[in-house]
């Protein structure tokens, strides 16, 4: 009789550094933190607006402080990364049928990016007015 000795490889905690594609993936997932921060930031802004012109001025002042700007620049980068990855992956996850035929995934990207642009423009218009 023999005893089987299988070698069970173990994944290290830093597995996501082992390959570039894994690292990119983890960065993509980490964008969630910044999505969270973006929402909080907007809420702070809303609170300031609700608190009257003075509070609003204070907020504007605070948001111009260097560390707030650095944080927000980083956040912006992650948000863009989130948008691009999310849009690029959507066709893989969704099948759109037009008149019984499958729309080729590449063709879906166009409308998605267009939608992004339109939404962004509307928002900018609303805010800047």
């Amino acid at each position: 009789m023999t005893t089987q000795r299988l070698y069970k490889p173990r994944i290290s905690v830093l597995w996501w550094l082992s390959r570039r594609s894994y690292t990119l993936f983890v960065l993509r997932e980490l964008s969630s933190l910044f999505v969270g921060w973006a929402v909080v930031y907007l809420l702070l802004l809303i609170r300031a607006v609700a608190g009257g012109p003075v509070a609003y001025q204070r907020f504007l002042h605070w948001s111009a402080s260097p560390w707030a700007i650095v944080l927000n620049v980083v956040t912006a980068a992650f948000l863009l990364y989130h948008t691009v990855t999310f849009i690029n992956l959507t066709p893989q996850a969704m099948v759109v049928q037009v008149r019984g035929r499958r729309v080729p995934p590449r063709l879906l990207l166009g409308p998605l990016y267009l939608a992004w642009l339109v939404v962004s423009a509307v928002l900018v218009w609303l805010v800047v007015g």
Binding site: R5, L6, Y7, W15, S18, F25, L89, Q92, A93
Partner: protein, 247 residues
């Protein structure tokens, strides 16, 4: 072009050692030699103790998968010249227990494959005498891609989630379940739903997407899984809204 190339091949001899090591071999570097030809050269001429799997050497039997310089590949379809001047590192597929050298244990996958019921399920079988179930080429196209899986396990090797949690059903098993779900002749989607919608089913996948990049047959298991998430989620919502509704 140099005459030779060095292969660093992972060895694990369970009777002699506790963990894998590397052995180096020099093999001829020829224009049409695949990595597998290099391994066969070692086995035939240099060292008969090297163990690895292969059979068809035409990329269809799915047995020759290994990591070549870290990437999961079919060794019969990966050419040495692409790695010249070398050295080339050849290791067993990741995330599976290693039996010996480049041979890994696939039992886990076969259990999971059986669990997703990868066969045509009908409420009522039509007798063979009455002829075929009709299926238009468009209906065939719906699932064809997912029927191309050769069970080579490259996707399991690439998927970090499977590496972290071997309870995860994994890309190929889910893609094969989708292959039947999307087949116009099949009526078994409900039965597969229970298995697929478990936490270790489609929900384990965080859409790393590496599985689809590794797949040599263009199956796109990542796509299959995300598409199934939508199906499973819709089914869950439906059940929530109409708990007593039809099956």
């Amino acid at each position: 072009m140099p005459e030779e190339i060095t292969l660093q091949v992972a060895r694990y001899r369970p009777e002699q050692e506790d963990r894998p090591t590397f052995d180096e071999y020099k093999v001829p570097l020829r224009k049409d030699w695949a990595v597998l030809d290099g391994l066969n050269y070692i086995k035939d001429e240099l060292d008969g103790t090297l163990s690895y799997r292969w059979s068809c050497r035409m990329g269809i039997c799915g047995s020759c998968g290994a990591r070549v310089n870290g990437e999961p590949k079919l060794t019969c379809g990966t050419f040495l010249t692409d790695y010249a001047p070398g050295p080339v590192r050849i290791e067993p597929l990741a995330n599976f227990p290693i039996i010996r050298d480049l041979v890994v244990d696939l039992t886990d996958f076969l259990v999971k494959l059986g669990a997703v019921q990868p066969w045509l399920i009908r409420d009522e079988d039509k007798p063979v005498e009455e002829g075929e179930y009709l299926q238009t080429p468009a209906e065939l196209d719906e699932y064809k891609q997912f029927s191309m899986c050769i069970n080579c396990m490259l996707c399991y090797s690439a998927c970090p989630v499977y590496g972290l949690d071997d309870k995860f059903l994994g890309p190929a098993a889910i893609a094969l379940a989708q292959r039947y779900n999307l087949d116009s002749r099949d009526e078994g989607a409900d039965r597969r739903l229970t298995v697929l919608s478990q936490p270790e089913g489609v929900w384990g996948c965080t859409f790393v997407g590496e599985c689809s990049r590794a797949c040599p047959k263009g199956v796109d298991p990542a796509g299959a899984i995300q598409r199934y998430k939508l199906t499973a989620a819709t089914a869950a919502v439906k059940k929530l809204l109409m708990p007593w509704g039809q099956r």
